[in-house]
């Protein structure tokens, strides 16, 4: 199948780009491994204008429905290869062995959860170690859990877990939590939550499942903390595979460098959302949407110009 634009990634950036592209009558397709991207996991979003409080899953479902209402097809699949054809188009191959052709590409594949890189982390994943509070919180009703991290995603995980668990420790390597002050205020006044500052987790202990964690310095006289579950919220990193394959220029932290129009260093390839260094590296739903919209408009202009050139020949 041949498209003017293929959007890789079905989170807020990709879906917004599709909405704009469809309204510009740019024939587009969205291919994503995960509908909604990381936002799907956010149990509560309170800073998206027009939505005072919304589940990430619900917000992104609305975005998907909006995009689909304009006729776009959203394919759940993984891109495993991108090649250039003789006539300078992109050929995209998916894990399910499907092929799609596009004039332009928008990369909006977002980021992945960072792991702790501790011994036995994989062994305990699913047995006490989790990377998704929204998915797994309910298995810790009336239990004691810890959250590692101190930014918005960790703060909201802590608050959500405090609604379900008996006790929540939040362990952070710095001396102050970061992010929205409203979340931090709620954490500090919640009697179920204890924040442990200037501390990191050194190791994970347990036989079949996680039973305790060892801190790099004592907390209330003890270096070990007995918990039932550990939620890792220490940030994210961009997915490198396609960036390398497409030879896209990145910054030191591997985020794609884009210009004001969300164009990458490669012709006919744009990028938007958490995977870029745009929007002052402020990775939010609204900035992802904004980047998606800017990219779509730039792609529309690019395709228009191309058409005009072709017509004049």
């Amino acid at each position: 199948m041949q498209y003017d634009l293929i959007i890789i990634g079905a989170g807020p950036a990709g879906l917004t780009a599709s909405i704009y592209a469809s309204r510009y009558k740019v024939n587009n397709l969205v291919i994503g491994e995960a509908l909604g991207g990381l936002v799907f996991e956010a149990h509560k979003i309170c800073n998206f204008p027009s939505e005072q409080e919304v589940k990430g899953m619900d917000l992104v479902t609305k975005m998907r429905q909006h995009a689909e209402s304009l006729g776009v097809q959203i394919v759940v699949d993984k891109i495993i290869g991108i090649d250039k054809t003789k006539n300078n188009k992109f050929k995209l191959t998916t894990q399910n062995k499907k092929e799609f052709f596009a004039e332009t590409i928008l990369l909006a594949t977002g980021t992945k959860h960072r792991k702790l890189d501790l011994p036995d982390e994989d062994k305990f994943t699913g047995h006490g170690v989790s990377y998704c509070a929204t998915c797994d919180a309910m298995f810790y009703r009336d239990k004691t859990v810890a959250v590692i991290g101190g930014s918005d995603s960790a703060n909201t995980a802590t608050l959500y877990l405090a609604e379900i668990a008996k006790k929540v420790y939040q362990i952070y390597r710095r001396d102050k939590l970061r992010g929205e002050i409203l979340w931090i205020e709620q954490i500090l006044k919640n009697p179920k939550i204890e924040v442990i500052y200037n501390t990191q987790v050194k190791s994970l202990k347990g036989s079949e499942k996680l039973e305790k964690i060892i801190l790099d310095q004592p907390y209330q006289g003890k270096q070990e903390l007995i918990i039932d579950g550990l939620f890792v919220e220490i940030g994210t990193f961009p997915q490198k595979v396609l960036i390398k394959e497409l030879k896209l220029e990145t910054d030191k932290k591997n985020y794609i460098k884009v210009n004001q129009e969300q164009k990458t260093n490669q012709k006919s390839i744009w990028a938007a959302g958490d995977i870029t260094n745009s929007s002052n590296n402020f990775h939010q739903v609204i900035t992802a949407c904004s980047e998606g919209a800017i990219a779509a408009e730039s792609i529309f202009k690019f395709l228009q110009e191309k058409k005009e050139i072709r017509a004049s020949k």
Partner: protein, 109 residues
């Protein structure tokens, strides 16, 4: 056509524990994105391994199912357990690519 069977508290014993075929049970919930991402893979495997393996899904969000989630020590989803003659013989946690998952399953069933 997917051959996945939705199991509940009431048919778990019959469909899973007393099954003649090995059974893969997917413990999932609607708010778990990785669980939803596994759906196409599980649908396809339910057809490709038809006759060799039965695939069932148990929605852990339903309050009556939570006792089963506790009994099988579910702490993270997606969590897929392979039962043979009523006993758990292997556990798969988190997202897995289809081809790898298929060969992992084929090596045990």
């Amino acid at each position: 056509m997917s051959k996945i069977i939705e199991v509940t508290n009431s048919n778990f014993e019959l469909e899973v524990l007393k099954s003649d075929l090995p059974v893969l049970v997917d413990f999932w919930a609607p708010w778990c994105q990785p669980c939803l991402m596994m759906v196409p893979t599980l649908n396809e495997l339910s057809e490709e391994l038809d006759g060799k393996l039965k695939i069932c899904k148990l929605n852990t969000e339903i309050p009556e199912h939570q006792q089963l989630a506790i009994q099988y020590q579910i702490q993270s989803i997606p969590n897929m357990k392979l039962f043979k003659n009523g006993q758990i013989v292997k556990e798969f946690i988190g997202l897995r690519p289809k081809d790898i998952f298929k060969s992992e399953l084929e090596s045990v069933i």
